[in-house]
Amino acid sequence: MSTVLWIIFYPIIAFAIGVILLGYGRKFNARVQRRYGPPIQQVFYDILKLMSKRTNISHGWMHDTALVMLLGGTLLTLYFIPVPGFDFFSGYGDFLVVMYILLIPSLGMALGVGETANPNGSIGISRALQMLAGYDIPFALTFIGMAILAGTTNFSEIIALQQAEGIFGWGLMTNPFLGVAALIALHGMMGEKPFEVMVAPHEIATGPMTEMGGKYLGMMMIQHALNVVIELTIYINLFLGGAANWASYLVKLFVLMTLILSVNALFGRFRVDDAVRFMWKVPLVLAVIGVLIIIL
């Protein structure tokens, strides 16, 4: 029975956490720029306003189905990542599955944005995919390293292994190289500056979101909120020893988010090929060293 309750309410909880995290992010950025900044629930207001827009335009049936695929893919990924108290589905799909279903939302968005027939959107998607190729290689290598170390690819088993030895059992502690490489790659995955090549308002008119208005943009922001939670939870599960209870889980979420936001607030934006070169130089080398340590 509790799993059915979890299945119904978990997306809402994750959405709430994501919205607060994003609101906290905007407040953090404002305070770094010595501004008062919007209230924490600002992102919630934005999403509500977008969803309540009276007129919405769409560029074709694929534009609508792609948005549904975008949010549907993210909800699918949400269920497959173990969270304290709810890892029912991670018995049916390990992190290899998660790594691939993470691609469904980006493919869905890419198809929807392609359908809007706006070159700004297509340039944004081509940059996003290049950035995906950039950060996903080191990220995947750290996954593989952890899997070989733990001898299994199932999320809950990896967490159990890490929690067995307390703080020093964490992935970050046992092999720091993989931990740091994954952190940099996570930064790219979240699309935070300096790797914010996809939504470049000054260059390509907010890239993929150029032609997204009203409830379409609202759905994209809902997906973004959920995506933030998913990506942070993946990192926590693999390198910060999962979370025994919700309190430590939330603390880890906020600490990790603050770390990423502090870097985001200070950097300008890389060019696409420089960002990809950086991703294939620093985190990839770290990850290779980490993996070599594990095999030899």
Partner: protein, 620 residues
């Protein structure tokens, strides 16, 4: 003896060849006859399910070995693919080739090729295997040069590669015969382990390189993209679907039939690195390099054929990993690859049928006119990129799981690099053809006729069904593995049985559909939405209309252009040119022997006699 399905199928394909020769000029009659014959062959093939070892021996005796054919689970698995894909190609080309030039011999070469392939797969001894392998390569050559003109030179290049690879095979077979004294698979397999170390290594190397050329492994892949892409698109789909995988069939036969895993591990070159690992490295390179060349192609067909090579790498990685899951993944990937690559190429053929071009820079926005082709391409690229719930993901998951449990991180990461390269290039493919602004000149085109849509619908269903329920195909593969004495893959109807790993495609798909429903409800919460014309678009205040080309197609990944341009040195093309110029120089030098006056010829004969007399003793 002649009523067994195997004999009937071979007989039918020969009959097909003969019939097509008779009806040379009458295209419509050719179509009907070929369709009926191929349909009959598929029906016969299905009867073969479960029958093993039934041999058909033809009275033809060569070198004391009668041409014999046998059915094995592997043979059934491959013939099932051959006959089904040929039938779909014929159905597709009934419509797509109506009234096209130089298609008189189209079905003739198709039958010749099918006969060759069926023979190779059913062969029970090395001699028939080699003879029909030759016939198959000639069938491929004739299919490639169908459209004449610019499709002839790549076909010639293929012939050079194919002939050299069959020479290596022949040398290998000759060595085996010299040692074991017979050709039939059973005796060869029995006698193989007692072969002396050096000889066995030589045979294995020769035959692996021979099969590698046919399956376009990394250094020997240069012939494939041009030759496949320059013929009719329906043929490109047929060739890249099944023809390249005959090389993989050969590798499976060699590795599991003759050598067996323990022997493969015995060839320790430098302690850790054994033969299997080297071939896997080549497999990994086959994944990465062609996939990233595919990224920069401007023609849809070349992009997909480059991926054909890349996906071959996954199969090699799977087969050469000594793990039940990995081998099953490799063999399953052959089936998956066939389904989604033919689906993609049929969709491209549908687009080419209507617009006349497959150049990615000239197309755009066709989703408004050809939704069925779009859906076909969408299912195909989701399969090709290996994203659930399509079948491409299941076989890739098997291969990754095997590589991780065997502890090969760098092979696994090369496979993931390949997947990322695939995702980038397939999005460029679907974006440049179907998304973006519809060009004014394509305003009036309509959907393709039903006969061309049928294969697309059938393959879409196949890609999705085997993705969610991989059980049936995996049961076939488990049979294959046990027939070679390997541990069968622990499969369940919808994935892997929990002991060996956590994958259940049915749960993933149902949760995905649940997520889609929830997302659809959120979509309906908002107010109504309207479809608008593509010219009502943000252009920074500029007024858009037909005259303004407002598409981003050319040079789609500029970031990667900057990164990869310095690396593009066309090493393989330059080596090919070097080799061909070397051969010409040598030929030119040897030509001088024939000086034309009789005295030198007499002197040559005398010298030959002296040399043979010296070595006469050893030869007898």
């Amino acid at each position: 003896m002649l009523t067994e399905p195997v004999a009937l199928m071979l007989l039918l394909s020969v009959a097909g060849v003969v019939l097509n020769i008779i009806l040379y000029r009458l295209q419509s009659l050719q179509m009907i006859v070929s369709f009926l014959v191929f349909a009959a062959m598929l029906a016969l093939n299905l009867q073969l399910y479960g029958t093993i070892g039934e041999t058909l021996v033809l009275p033809v005796v060569v070198f004391g070995q009668a041409m014999s054919f046998a059915v094995s689970p592997l043979a059934f698995y491959f013939t099932l693919m051959i006959t089904s894909i040929t039938l779909l190609t014929v159905i597709f080309s009934l419509e797509s080739l109506r009234g096209k030039a130089c298609t008189q011999a189209y079905y003739l070469w198709l039958f010749l090729k099918t006969f060759g392939m069926l023979g190779v797969v059913f062969a029970a001894d090395l001699l028939t295997f080699f003879l029909l392998w030759e016939l198959m390569t000639w069938g491929t050559f004739f299919l490639m040069q169908q459209t004449g003109g610019e499709s002839f030179s790549p076909a010639k290049k293929y012939v050079v590669y194919a002939v050299s690879s069959s020479m290596l095979l022949f040398l290998g077979i000759a060595l085996i015969h010299a040692w074991t004294g017979s050709f039939s698979f059973r005796e060869v397999a029995a006698a193989f382990p007692h072969m002396p170390e050096g000889m066995m290594l030589l045979v294995v190397l020769l035959m692996t390189v021979g099969f590698a050329v046919e399956s376009a492994m990394f250094p020997l892949h240069a012939w494939l993209p041009e030759s496949y892409a320059s013929t009719f698109t329906s043929l490109t789909s047929y060739l890249s679907g099944i023809s390249t995988r005959m090389g993989i069939y050969g590798l499976i036969l060699l590795l599991f039939g003759f050598v067996g895993h323990e022997l493969a591990d015995r060839f320790q070159l430098i302690g850790v690195i054994n033969l299997r690992y080297i071939v896997s490295i080549f497999g990994a390179l086959t994944i990465i390099i062609p996939t990233f060349t595919a990224l920069f192609q401007h023609d849809a067909k070349r992009l997909v054929t480059w991926h054909g090579i890349g996906q071959g790498g996954y199969m090699i990685l799977g087969i050469f990993s000594a793990n039940a899951l990995g081998i099953a993944g490799g063999i399953f990937h052959i089936f998956n690859y066939m389904t989604y690559v033919t689906l993609i190429l049929f969709s491209i053929a549908a687009v080419e049928y209507r617009t006349g071009t497959s150049n990615l820079n000239k197309l755009g926005g066709l989703i408004k006119r050809q939704p069925v082709a779009f859906l076909g391409l969408l299912f195909g690229i989701i399969g090709l990129a290996g994203i659930p719930p399509m079948n491409g993901f299941v076989s890739k998951w098997f291969i990754y799981k095997a590589l991780i449990t065997e502890g090969y991180p760098f092979l696994a990461i090369s496979a993931i690099i390949g997947t990322l390269g695939t995702i980038l290039s397939v999005y460029k493919l679907i974006h440049n053809i179907f998304l973006g602004q519809l060009q004014p000149e394509y305003n009036e085109i309509k959907e393709v006729p039903f006969l061309m849509q049928l294969p697309i619908w059938v393959l879409m269903l196949a890609v999705f069904a085997t993705g969610v329920f991989p059980g049936p195909i995996l049961s076939l593969i488990a049979e294959i593995q046990s027939s070679f004495g390997l541990a069968p893959v622990p499969y369940t109807m919808t994935g892997v049985d929990p002991a060996a790993g956590t994958l259940d495609m049915l749960v993933i798909t149902t949760v995905f559909i649940g997520g889609l429903l929830l997302a659809w409800i959120v979509f309906l919460l908002g107010h109504k939405r309207r479809h608008v014309s593509q010219y009502q678009n943000y252009a920074a205040g500029h007024f858009l209309d037909e005259s303004i080309p407002y598409n981003f197609n050319y040079n789609f990944y500029t970031g990667f252009e900057h990164i990869f341009n310095p690396m593009k040195k066309k090493v393989i093309a330059r080596t090919e040119v070097a080799v061909s110029s070397l051969v010409e120089a040598a030929g030119d030098y040897l030509r001088r022997i024939y000086t034309g006056n009789l005295a030198t010829y007499a002197m040559y004969i005398m010298a030959a006699l002296v040399v043979t007399s010296l070595f006469l003793k050893e030869l007898i």
